[in-house]
Symmetry: C2
Subunit: 217 residues, 2 copies
Amino acid sequence: MATRAYRAQRRSTRSDATRERIMSAVRELLAEGSFHESTVEEVADRAGIARATLYQHFGSRLDLVDGICDTFAVNPALLAIRETVELPDPEEALADTVSNCVRFWSSEDAILSQLYGVSAIDPAAKDLVDRQRADRRGEMQRLVRHLHTTGRLRSGVSERKALALLLVLTSYETFRELRAAGLSDRELTKSLGETGRTLLLSGSRSSAGATGGTRPA
Amino acid sequence: MATRAYRAQRRSTRSDATRERIMSAVRELLAEGSFHESTVEEVADRAGIARATLYQHFGSRLDLVDGICDTFAVNPALLAIRETVELPDPEEALADTVSNCVRFWSSEDAILSQLYGVSAIDPAAKDLVDRQRADRRGEMQRLVRHLHTTGRLRSGVSERKALALLLVLTSYETFRELRAAGLSDRELTKSLGETGRTLLLSGSRSSAGATGGTRPA
DNA sequence: TGCCATTGGACAGACAGTCTAGACACGCTG
DNA sequence: CAGCGTGTCTAGACTGTCTGTCCAATGGCA
């Protein structure tokens, strides 16, 4: 049986191309917001293949969503977060992390809005959302620790509260809400960054005396 | 044909009771998170009626969700917001509005988490979410204007940004995120209120009593 | 030629929504 | 009280759509 093992490799190129066509179709439909009204037949048509072929690549409708979710793992903005949370300068760490979150949400917005939407009923989407939420929580936890150990966490702000706030600031829903309010990605990043700095960081060698000044009481 | 003047009014009590049984069943299933996996038959079974009867009260599966959504219109916390946004004291207006938002989200959390979840694919749910979002936006807009006209909007904060921030602070998603982080409703209200005051309000007689006393730092 | 991805189509099972005939409860009138 | 009219509920049959499975046939590529 091992006699021709190498062949499978070569051959698989064709199969891979088909798989790619399917994924593209799913991405398109997702981006158009019509994936969830589409039948498997329509997905196959869009990909220019037979329904049976689709089922050979993806066991079920949910597997299609699963496939899409896997592609996020290599998103550069997402990968960058792992590093920015531990940048030496806490202020920079905070700002860059926020910035990268916005970058990620923005880059996949069309698709995420659909996936997040159905996470309540679609197991595969729910998996994705839960995993992303857990990942983000882990990163933010690291960021909070970093702020704490470098002594830049504002006095009176517990680590638990700091984490909660960071989660809100960097959540996809907040991104959506602000974008819906008409803010551009740039404004959004700036606004979220400032808010975080204002509420979380102590001292204020930075902008506007944002924090300290406001609460003399 | 007109021989009898019939009183549908009297009769309707029975019909109303049936309708109520159906709604209860839907609420239960929604709260258990299993509505979206349930067939119409199962909903009917849960309500203890025939499937045909259900279809007489609600034309389709979506109408069931619609029915639930209508019940939110009379939620006391939601109604209260209309008044709190214009309380004479801006500080109080802000705090009470935030508080009422939390109260509303909290009172219907089990069901909203499901409805918001499927809003991307369920037209009825989407309608609800869109309507709620529009309503909230309207109220927050009024609140911002109020803060502005009374001169309490912090300098450097445009009305547009103030609105965006308020929308984030009072959004269901933020509520969910903070609750998931382990905050109680009380902590949540306090935290959101403080954040709003810190970021939006100028001056700072900061009502040490009402809410402010909580931050001795 | 032989492998393998692909294809078209048949098929079973599940479910939404429609329809009909009949059972039942209740209000009205005599 | 008796009985008719009316609206509600019920049981079940039926259609159409969609998912997921299976298989025999096709076609490209080494």
